[in-house]
């Protein structure tokens, strides 16, 4: 009994710092957001209890619908290309035999990933600037006028997506590379004897064996890209004509610019629930597919 009490005490001392900060900076803000979302509060301070009114307002908010739709467009533009390109690059690096050369090539793809987002947007902002940007030279080969990529109602969204792929693909390359290294080379050697060509090897060996990694990459990417905010904030400001208004940008505008704290909290909470739903659904869905493959 005494030793039990003592080990309880020791354990709680060891976990206390984590539990403390966890409660203060995660549980409390979460509870606050929930309560806040039922009020008509401004950003700072409390308003009146309005029940479900904020949630009813969300249903009628056209910009909210648009921002959700555009978030999905962004996800579509980024998640699939990021996964496919990540796998292709990983396969390219995997066949390099020299360790140093492989490390250098991997570095070329991975370094963008560790850059701060402001550096990423600054570099691409400069490279696409109207008069001097190096990308505009390429544009000038096809047409006279430069394209203002981030202020153009058609180009803005794919441009931000392209930059995001450039910025984040290195992470996927790393995961795929680890997956490829786990595949036993003897399997490929055995398939050589059976006369398998390259496509067969990819289709029937690499692809099924790497599937768990692909599932992981897809899940992580989906959750990460749903939270798109920084790049829109820095490059397009949600414009032009709200064409790049994504859902977290909507929250930011409602709270920090329109001072509608309660309403913004309601949207934030919905996003939060949605991301949890996606994570869980994704986990089960991909696991189901995985089991099917193995049967």
């Amino acid at each position: 009994m005494n030793s039990n009490l003592q080990s309880n005490l020791t354990a709680w001392v060891l976990i206390f710092p984590f539990v403390f900060f966890f409660t203060v900076f995660l549980v409390y803000p979460f509870a606050y957001t929930v309560v806040h979302s039922f009020t008509d509060s401004p950003l700072i301070g409390w308003g009146n209890w309005v029940g479900l009114e904020n949630y009813q307002k969300i249903l009628k908010d056209k910009l909210f619908g648009k921002s959700i739709y555009q978030t999905f467009i962004f996800v579509a533009w980024t998640v699939i290309p990021n996964t496919v390109i990540g796998l292709l690059i990983a396969m390219m690096i995997h066949r390099i035999q020299s360790t140093i050369y492989a490390a250098i090539i991997l570095g070329c793809f991975f370094i963008p990933h560790i850059l701060p987002v402001t550096v990423v947007t600054d570099i691409w902002g400069s490279m696409t600037s109207n008069d001097l940007g190096i990308i505009q030279w390429i544009v000038k080969m096809f047409q006279d006028d430069p394209i203002p990529f981030f202020r153009h109602k058609v180009w803005a969204m794919p441009s931000v997506a392209l930059i995001t792929v450039w910025w984040t693909v290195g992470f996927n390359v790393l995961l795929f590379l680890a997956g490829l290294k786990m595949i036993n080379p003897e399997i490929y050697e055995a398939s050589d004897i059976d006369g398998a060509n390259k496509w067969h090897k990819f289709r029937f060996i690499t692809w099924p064996l790497i599937w768990p990694i692909t599932a992981l990459v897809l899940t992580l990417q989906l959750i990460f890209q749903l939270k798109i905010f920084d790049q829109m904030f820095l490059l397009t400001g949600g414009g032009p004509y709200n064409k790049t208004m994504v859902v977290l940008y909507h929250v930011y505008k409602q709270s920090f610019m329109m001072n509608k704290g309660g309403y913004a909290s309601a949207i934030a909470l919905l996003i939060f629930l949605f991301i949890i739903f996606v994570s869980v659904a994704n986990y089960y869905m991909l696991r189901a597919v995985d089991l099917d493959k193995q049967r």
Binding site: A11, L26, Y32, D122, L174, K227, V251, A264, I275
Partner: protein, 278 residues
């Protein structure tokens, strides 16, 4: 015939790899190149070259002597180091307790830790902002640091690592009369320097790169971190592209250097934190 086929495709693939790698690293090279050019040379589009005609360090000298950059750099460095240090000393004991000690509420805590990985921080930003404002921590290093110190992923990585350490090690130490704290500090911590280094590196990079939190948290110029500060002065600089690139390159220097020096550790950390045994 078959052999020749292989060499051609081998050559083509190698070439393709090089080209793709160059395309990916090009914006970075372009940034470095631009940061070393004078504004005049940058404007001279006709004679553009990736290697500057006249390499100049004027932007970097100006940045550190006359701009607020030095202050922002110090802010970034101190807050990132603070976050890293706190994440490690908070997560390690928690991972140890969850792995080694039987105590009431253990399962509940572990489930909370796992679930919290899914919490999107951005959704809580309004509440956090108000809370930190009430604590009067706006425009302080403490305010920037504290909300970043909970890292459920680090706790789980530590727990998994401690799970793999043979139980006999702890039992033998307990018989020798060591307390749990002594076991953690003298036996377990020296065993996991590699993992601690790896987690510290990615935590540091994450904190250094964090944009939105320091951005809304700071209203005074002298309290900006470098990533937040950069976005604020863009407009004022107008056409000073080369200078802007110099700032961007200086802001990425610590993280890029960290990656180049510790490539293997960072790779290991990414494997561990995404749940692959690396």
């Amino acid at each position: 015939m078959k052999k020749k086929d292989i060499t051609i495709s081998w050559f083509l693939l190698g070439f393709l790899t090089l080209i793709t790698a160059y395309i990916f690293i090009f914006p970075m090279l372009w940034g470095i190149s631009t940061s070393l050019k004078s504004e005049v040379e940058f404007l001279d589009v006709e004679n553009w070259g990736i290697i500057p005609n006249d390499i100049t360090f004027e932007h970097f000298i100006y940045m550190f002597k006359k701009s607020s950059m030095m202050t922002w750099y110090v802010n970034s460095m101190m807050t990132s180091l603070g976050v890293t240090f706190l994440v490690i000393i908070i997560s390690m004991p928690c991972g140890y307790a969850l792995s080694q000690i039987q105590f009431t509420g253990k399962n509940f805590i572990f489930v909370c830790v796992v679930l919290s990985i899914m919490v999107p921080g951005t959704a809580l930003v309004i509440a956090l902002f108000i809370f930190v404002a009430e604590l009067r921590l706006i425009n302080t290093w403490t305010g920037i640091i504290l909300p970043q110190v909970i890292s459920p992923v680090c706790v789980i990585v530590y727990k998994q690592f401690f799970d793999q350490v043979p139980k006999e090690l702890r039992e033998a130490s307990l018989i020798d009369g060591a307390s749990e704290f002594q076991i953690l500090l003298r036996v377990y911590m020296p065993l996991n320097w590699g993992i601690t280094a790896a987690l510290a590196l990615v935590t540091f990079i994450g904190a250094w790169n964090n944009f939105f939190w320091p951005f809304i948290m700071t209203t005074k110029t002298e309290m900006y971190t470098i990533t937040a500060g950069m976005s604020q002065v863009d407009e004022n600089w107008g056409v000073r592209n080369a200078y802007m690139m110099a700032v961007a390159m200086a802001a990425s220097l610590p993280v890029v250097l960290a990656y180049i020096i510790f490539q293997r550790r960072i790779t290991q950390a990414i494997m561990l934190t995404s749940g692959i045994k690396g």
